[in-house]
Amino acid sequence: MQLLQALRVLGIEPLTALACVCFALGLWLLLPSTTARGKAFGLIFTTISLGLFATNLHLLSDWVSDAVFYVMASVTLVSAVGAVTMRSPVYCAIWFALTLLGTAGLFFFQGAQFLGVATVVVYAGAILVTMLFVLMLCNPEGHSLYDRVSWEAGISAGTGALLVFLLTWTTATTVFVDNTAFTDKTPAKDSKEPAPIVLTATAEQQNKNILAPRHVEKLGGELFSKYLIGVETAGTLLLVALVGAVAIIAHGKHAEAQAAAVRTSDGMTSGLNEEGRRNA
């Protein structure tokens, strides 16, 4: 009882705390290990925790929005759990791709078209494909157990659950402001009182957000005025990485050329080498 009260004081729903504990337990059971730790129980615990999280959420304005949101969110979460618990790296990558698609769907749902599509292009289209490219070179039926188990299952499951808990707690105790950045309506500036607490935009607003006709233009304007320093810093960082990669390659080529020079001028007198030197 006291524990419950302490939780209430902190602004934590007891159900949320329970959900996080269940989540940690389920994740720990699901993570690949050397022994059979009971995947079925893991699945049950994870499902329970997802259900408990869901009980804590507020319903949106209409049932269509609800359905879309909950389907997207559960796709994202389930595939995220799949991404960390699969044994085969290729399956991990596929689940992760599904996570990204779910996230992109959530972005779309909130009217952030550019962000949603950029997530797919950058993560699913470029990074994951490159990862898959490497993974394809590994044997699908490798027998080395060493690479196929999660070595710190307890710590990672606990950390993950803690992160989820902190996020939920923060969102539960934060005051939401009407998200009108991308709509044509400008918030009233003259009123002194704080902005109204709105958990989500109404259906009408949401439609407006999603179908904002000059969406990308506004985003570009924001990025290159308000967030210019951030954009430039990120750009510089990427440039430095690019130059570094080129430098590494160039250095490698130089070393190889030196080695080749050493090899050819190395006092070997066989006929084969004569031929080789002439051809080179």
Binding site: L272, E275, G276, N279
Partner: protein, 177 residues
């Protein structure tokens, strides 16, 4: 073989000229060739409706026939040379004493398994009396294996069918040289 082996010949490809390096002329050249062929005359023969033209029927190796002489008798004298020459062993002859005075034997039965035959023409080469010949009929079909074993009557009927279009090849009998 090693790369440094003197027997390995490294060939330098010819250098491209400026037009070759510009790619576009080469692409247009290729497209011009394909476009020319797109509208050119087609080589395909639509078989059942159109019959392919056989250049010289006298040297074509199609279905066999058994020739008849001017009295309408089968010319075969049952010497078995064709059956001996046949590499596929598809000729089956039963000989009998001849009812006619000008030869000793004639073929009582003469069967060719057309499914076994490889249409090499050796029987035609071997025949001393020009009795067996290959015609230019090529579309022989049947519903069973038995049907494809051509007996004497069938082979003689092939002769009746083709004798006008394809005269006998022997010079002495007025055939083409």
């Amino acid at each position: 073989m090693q790369a440094t082996d003197p027997n390995v010949k490294w060939i330098e490809e010819p250098k491209l000229g400026l037009a070759g390096k510009m790619y576009i002329p080469a692409v247009i050249g290729g497209l011009a060739t394909t476009t020319k062929h797109l509208f050119s005359k087609k080589m395909t023969v639509s078989f059942p409706e159109e019959r392919p033209e056989i250049g010289n029927p006298l040297i074509y190796r199609g279905v066999h026939r058994l020739n008849k002489d001017d009295q309408g008798r089968v010319k075969c004298v049952a010497c078995f040379l064709c059956a001996t020459a046949c590499p596929a062993h598809c000729i089956d002859i039963i000989a009998a004493p001849s009812p006619w005075p000008d030869r000793d034997k004639y073929c009582e039965s003469f069967a060719i398994d057309e499914l076994r035959c490889i249409f090499c023409g050796m029987c035609e080469e071997a025949c001393p009396v020009d009795a067996i010949e290959l015609t230019s009929l090529f579309d022989l079909t049947g519903r069973s294996r038995e049907e494809m074993i051509f007996d004497k009557e069938k082979l003689l009927s092939v002769y009746d069918m083709t004798k006008d279009a394809e005269p006998m090849k022997s010079k002495s009998l007025g055939g083409a040289p």
